[in-house]
C-alpha cells in the first residue's frame, strides 16, 4: 500500500513542479494589474494569454494537489479493504471539498 501511495505522492509533487516555475516568466510588466481571483473569469482570461490568469491556474493546481492526494488515499485504503480508513479519509475529503466549493 505504501508503494502505491508513495508513487502518487511523487506524481503529485512532479505535477506541482511543472505548474510552479512557468509562471514567473509570464509576469506582466506594469503596476496596477491586481486582478481579483474570479473562477468564472479564469478560463476566458487564460485563453487570452493573460499571465496573471496563468499564475492563478498554477495556484489552483497547487491547492488541488493535497485534495487529490487525499482522494488517492481513499482509493488506496479501499484497495486495502480498510473500511475504517476509507471512512476517515473520505470524511477529510468531504471537509476539504466543502471548504473549497460550498463554504460561504
Amino acid at each position: 500500500m505504501l508503494l502505491s501511495v508513495a508513487v502518487t505522492f511523487v506524481g503529485m509533487s512532479l505535477y506541482l513542479w511543472s505548474s510552479g516555475p512557468v509562471h514567473a516568466n509570464y509576469r506582466m510588466f506594469g503596476a496596477g494589474s491586481r486582478k481579483l481571483f474570479d473562477i468564472g473569469e479564469l478560463l476566458p482570461n487564460l485563453l487570452h494569454g493573460n499571465p496573471i490568469a496563468l499564475i492563478q491556474l498554477g495556484i489552483l493546481l497547487l491547492v488541488a494537489t493535497p485534495v487529490a492526494r487525499v482522494a488517492f488515499l481513499v482509493v488506496a485504503f479501499a484497495l486495502e479493504r480498510d473500511r475504517m480508513y476509507v471512512a476517515v479519509s473520505g470524511l477529510v475529503l468531504a471537509i476539504l471539498l466543502y471548504s473549497l466549493i460550498f463554504f460561504r
Binding site: L2, M12, G20, R27, R34, G58, T65, V92, I95, S99
Partner: protein
C-alpha cells in the same frame, strides 16, 4: 521600484525565509508573514494568503520523500486531519471576521510560543499497545537507527485530536503551517516517536492549508502576482535548507533564528497595538 525589482526582492526574501524555516524546523510561514507585512509593507491579509499557498507548496514537496522512507504514519495523519481541516475552516472563517490588528497580535504570541516549543525536550518513552491505538490501527513501525523496524503505539488520542483542531485553526487564521503545534500534539501528547511526528506533520500541513485556501481564494486574499515569487522563493529556499541541513550547526542557527523571531514578534505586537497593520 518597479514590479520586476519588487518581485525579485520578494523572491529573495522568501528564499531566505524558506531557508531559515527549513534549517531550523520552525517552518517558513512564521517568518514569511511578518517579513511581508512589516518589512515589505504588504497588507497582512495578502501576506497570510501568500504564506498559506507557499506552505502547501513546501509540504507537498517533502511529503513524498518521507512517506517513501517509511516514517510518516498515514493513518494517524488522516485521522488527525479530520480535526485539522475542520479547525482550518474555523480559522479561515475567523480570519475574515477578525480585524487585522488582532490577527497580528495573535500571530506574535504564536511566534513566541513556537520559539519556546522549539527548545523543548521530546518525549522519549514508548507507549505500550493499548485498546484505542489498536482499534484505530494507529500502531506502526519505522526504521530505527540500527536499520531495524521499531514498533510504537499511540496514546491520548482525544487530547491529540483536540490539539490538532487548534493547530488547524491557527493555520487557517494566520496562514502558517502550524507544524510546531502538530508535532507537539503528536510527540508530547500522543507519545509518537519524534521522527514519525515530524514527517507525518509535514504531509498533514499541506492538507490543512488546502482546507483554508478555498475560503481565502473566495475572499480575495490571494494576490497572484504576489504569491508567485513568494511560492517559488520559499520552495527553492527550503530545498536549499534541506540540502544544507546535514552540514550545518543547527543549534547555533536555532538560537539566532529564535532571536530574530523574537524581534519580529515584538515588532508585530507593536504594529498591532499601534494600529499600523
Amino acid at each position: 521600484m518597479n514590479e520586476w525589482m519588487f518581485s525579485l526582492v520578494i523572491l529573495g526574501g522568501s528564499l531566505l525565509a524558506g531557508l531559515l524555516g527549513s534549517l531550523t524546523g520552525l517552518g517558513g510561514g512564521v517568518v514569511l508573514v511578518p517579513m511581508l507585512a512589516i518589512l515589505f509593507k504588504v497588507d497582512l491579509r495578502y501576506a497570510i494568503g501568500a504564506s498559506l499557498i507557499s506552505v502547501i507548496a513546501t509540504s507537498s514537496g517533502s511529503a513524498a520523500a518521507y512517506v517513501r522512507e517509511g516514517f510518516s504514519n498515514i493513518r494517524i495523519g488522516m485521522f488527525l486531519e479530520i480535526a485539522t481541516t475542520a479547525g482550518a475552516i474555523a480559522g479561515a472563517w475567523l480570519a475574515t471576521r477578525v480585524p487585522t490588528r488582532s490577527i497580528a497580535i495573535v500571530f506574535s504570541l504564536v511566534l513566541l510560543y513556537s520559539v519556546y516549543l522549539s527548545f523543548g525536550r521530546h518525549g522519549e518513552e514508548r507507549v505500550p499497545d493499548n485498546p484505542w491505538s489498536n482499534r484505530l490501527k494507529m500502531n506502526g513501525t519505522f526504521p530505527g537507527m540500527d536499520g531495524k523496524e521499531q514498533h510504537y503505539a499511540v496514546t491520548n488520542i482525544s487530547g491529540g485530536f483536540a490539539t490538532m483542531f487548534g493547530a488547524g485553526a491557527l493555520s487557517g487564521l494566520l496562514g502558517i503551517g502550524s507544524g510546531a503545534v502538530k508535532v507537539l500534539a503528536m510527540d508530547n501528547i500522543m507519545r509518537i516517536p519524534f521522527k514519525v511526528s515530524t514527517t507525518t506533520s509535514n504531509f498533514m500541513i499541506g492538507v490543512t492549508a488546502a482546507a483554508s485556501a478555498g475560503i481565502y481564494l473566495r475572499r480575495g486574499y490571494i494576490d497572484a502576482p504576489l504569491v508567485a515569487p513568494v511560492m517559488i522563493g520559499v520552495v527553492i529556499g527550503s530545498l536549499l535548507g534541506a540540502k544544507l541541513l546535514v552540514k550545518s550547526n543547527v543549534k547555533s542557527l536555532r538560537i539566532i533564528f529564535s532571536v530574530v523571531i523574537f524581534a519580529l514578534a515584538v515588532e508585530m505586537i507593536y504594529s498591532g497595538c499601534m494600529g499600523k497593520v
